[in-house]
């Protein structure tokens, strides 16, 4: 029962962070949202009994990808502009 509630909360959080990553104008906040998305996805993998995949997702998705996004944003512009 308590696991089902956590599961549903994680799924809601996945949808919310994915929506915010598309909608926000501050690209640094978008990168952080993608990091939170990856972290929640690794939690989801752990709930679904795949801890191996969860560690890989936490390392690559939440760690390295966010770092690369932050580096790219620091070398370009931080705010999304209308064309």
């Amino acid at each position: 029962m308590i696991l089902d509630i956590i599961h549903i909360l994680v799924l809601i959080g996945l949808i919310a962070t994915a929506y915010l990553a598309v909608k926000l104008r501050d690209l640094m906040a978008c990168a952080v949202m993608l990091g939170i998305f990856s972290f929640l996805l690794s939690l989801e993998f752990f709930i679904l009994q795949a801890p191996d995949v969860a560690i890989a997702e936490a390392g690559i998705g939440a760690g390295l990808t966010t770092a690369i996004f932050v580096m790219a944003i620091r070398k370009t512009s931080r705010w999304e502009v209308e064309e």
Binding site: D52, A54, I55, A58, G63, A67, M71, K75
Partner: protein, 152 residues
Amino acid sequence: MMSKIVRTQANFLYPFILIFGFYIVAHGHLTPGGGFQGGAVIATGIALVIVAYGYDRVKSWIKKSTLTATESIGLLCFILTAFIGLSTSFFYNFLANSGLLFGDKVSYGANPGYLNTAGTLPIMNLAVGVEVLGGLGVILMYMLSYGKEVSK
């Protein structure tokens, strides 16, 4: 280079991330995770330092040539371990149950898992961990070395 808060946090967290990564690599044959996952966690620690300090200061600490050499050494160790068992077959586990390094017998039934077992598997996990650490580190350093930072 980021603010002092980020740099202090990076200084504090860096050794713990490294130790956790090497723990995952060393216990690859007992617990979830293994060479790739542990190497990715260690590379995350390198990424933290690079993001906190910026390329100009990090390039004197971590060199691209060192990381490339690390990657090659890991791959060489992996393939050499595979070739040593060639008298029986390629990738033959010649160390298992031999009493030598990582060669203890595994007792029957449920047990917590003993580190000194599984033969060549921990050696290959270490090789893959070192290789992934070098490879992802090289990717990060090359991502950082082009262009210059826009100050805001």
